[in-house]
Symmetry: C2
Subunit: 324 residues, 2 copies
């Protein structure tokens, strides 16, 4: 089996790549080769599987043609300009998130007798206020950001290209991922990870919103689980609406902080500084809080058990990282 990962140098992409290498197989079939693609090299190596590590521009036709000419069996499309940057740089967001995605789909279509599985990471940013109390599987896509618009368009294209038989696509709308390791990215949702990650590392963290803010969360491990399941599941029962709300857990910021306290103690929690930021408060107030992801659960996707286990997994990962 030949696998292509677009956006492989990002947090979820790296974790997915490492998991595939560790497993050595996907859906019971041995993996012969993984191509990791991003704007810079992923630099993930393997002794057991051939890794092609390619850096380039996803909106460049020649680049995408060469990636698709290898006819990967499964394509994970995780490449994206994140929400904050897509809002700040209109052209860049549309070029990567819309043109890049469409170019990928179109390049696949141009190949004869080729129908790969395409797993597209979408986002709950396709939804905009006013919301339902718990967003159902038939809630409309009415995004309030350019990023959400680009993801919603990608979903429409994925459904149409799949319906026409050009590939076998599935879109997964990821919750906000916590705890992101490493440095903050430009996403407005960054503080959801920051208030856990920074205090655990002995650093101060800024909380720009109220403790009462509720949000829909999943761990990096859960995200990788969604991707693997999407890549291997039977798509026949999914039907024509191929983009699914992934199961997460709904928590307030206050509940997250109490979860951190239960795992790591008062001293760690004391490193969180409340510093309201009107811009971030406004952006976050336009986000969905809670979901009823019935279809995804029925189709076998599984959420994290609880927030404390997310915090513990982050501590375990960080310590593993230090040891390595």
């Amino acid at each position: 089996m030949n696998i292509l990962i677009l956006g492989a140098a990002g947090m979820v992409g790296r974790r997915l790549t490492k998991k595939l290498i560790a497993d050595g197989a996907l859906g019971g079939t041995a993996i012969n080769r993984i191509t990791t693609f991003d704007v810079f090299p992923s630099e993930i190596h393997s002794d057991t599987i051939r890794i092609e590590d390619i850096a380039g521009d996803i909106a460049d036709p020649t680049t995408i043609e060469s990636l698709i000419a290898d006819r990967p069996d499964v394509i994970f499309h995780l490449a994206a300009i994140v929400s904050g940057e897509a809002e700040a740089d209109f052209d860049k967001g549309y070029r990567i998130n819309l043109d890049g995605t469409r170019l990928l789909f179109e390049t696949i279509r141009q190949q004869k007798d080729y129908r790969p599985r395409v797993v597209f990471t979408s986002s709950i940013a396709v939804f905009g206020a006013p919301f339902e109390d718990k967003i159902s599987d038939t809630f409309l896509s009415a995004p309030m950001t350019s990023y959400g618009t680009q993801k919603a368009i990608g979903e429409l294209l994925l459904n149409d290209y799949s319906r026409r038989g050009f590939f076998d696509g599935i879109g997964i709308r990821l919750p906000t991922i916590v705890v992101r390791p490493g440095k903050p990215n430009k996403a407005a949702s960054g503080f959801f990870s920051g208030i856990i990650r920074e205090p655990l590392a002995g650093l101060e963290a800024i909380l720009p919103v109220d403790d009462s803010v509720r949000h829909w969360l999943a761990s990096p491990d859960a995200a990788v689980g969604f991707l693997l399941h999407a890549a291997t599941m039977d798509l026949a029962p999914v039907g024509p609406r191929r983009c699914l709300n992934m199961p997460g857990i709904c928590l307030s910021v206050g509940e997250m902080i109490e979860g951190l306290r239960a795992v790591a103690g008062d001293e760690v929690v004391a490193r969180i500084k409340r510093q309201p930021d009107e811009t971030i408060r406004t952006i976050v107030s336009g986000w969905a809080e809670d979901f009823d992801p019935a279809r995804a659960i029925e189709l076998g996707f599984t959420a994290d058990a609880d927030f404390q286990s997310i915090v513990r997994a982050h501590i375990r990962d960080t310590q593993a990282g230090k040891k390595a």
Copy 2:
């Protein structure tokens, strides 16, 4: 006031152009100039208003730049490859319906200090089964055709470009228009007009679906009314979800036939031949039947009174056409 009509040679475009010429003003402001644009000349003339009649390709950047360089105050975007053709010719549908629309929006954005009203004709084809009994204003866009996909993407772009302040856009999802004059087009919905138009003209008409099929209909006059209202209404109360289900009337094919009988008699109705066509039956079975267009009604859009008045208006138009 300077008005640009894209898709001006189509049925609704021609009728809109003639109405604007007859009115001489839009929203109380005198019209100085109307530019009619389509793949072929509209050949509509006026003694009172300057008409620029331009034929070209809406997906050609130079063409669109020259149209937008004139900075029209109101742009009606009606240009589209219809559903049947967009399904048959994948590339053409995407090129005109998606690339053409995006090019228009993007060309407007590139102009400095320019924020026209953009009226985009979308379609109830953005909806796909399974439906609600009466489709509400918050029903999701899950199209089952490439045409519907392209329109749904146009709507997302219109919302985002409007939210960012690049223009003041509004999208109107037209019901199926009956009675279309002239010859059938490639739309799978053509028979809804055909079963009225052909018998009234003394010709046989083919009915490819069951009498029980229900659909959502509006007259050409109602469609022009929607466009004029969309061009002049206050958009502040519309909010960020700028694409609205237009009010129509929900009728079964049997009820349409009885309406025709009431106006024109048994002899005319006898010219309808039932000739089931599985392809058309399948396409039509995937269409929405009934709506609750509460937002549009609240915002001042008005539906046809009843089907008999639609038939009578068609007879009046046809006779006026014969006299001319």
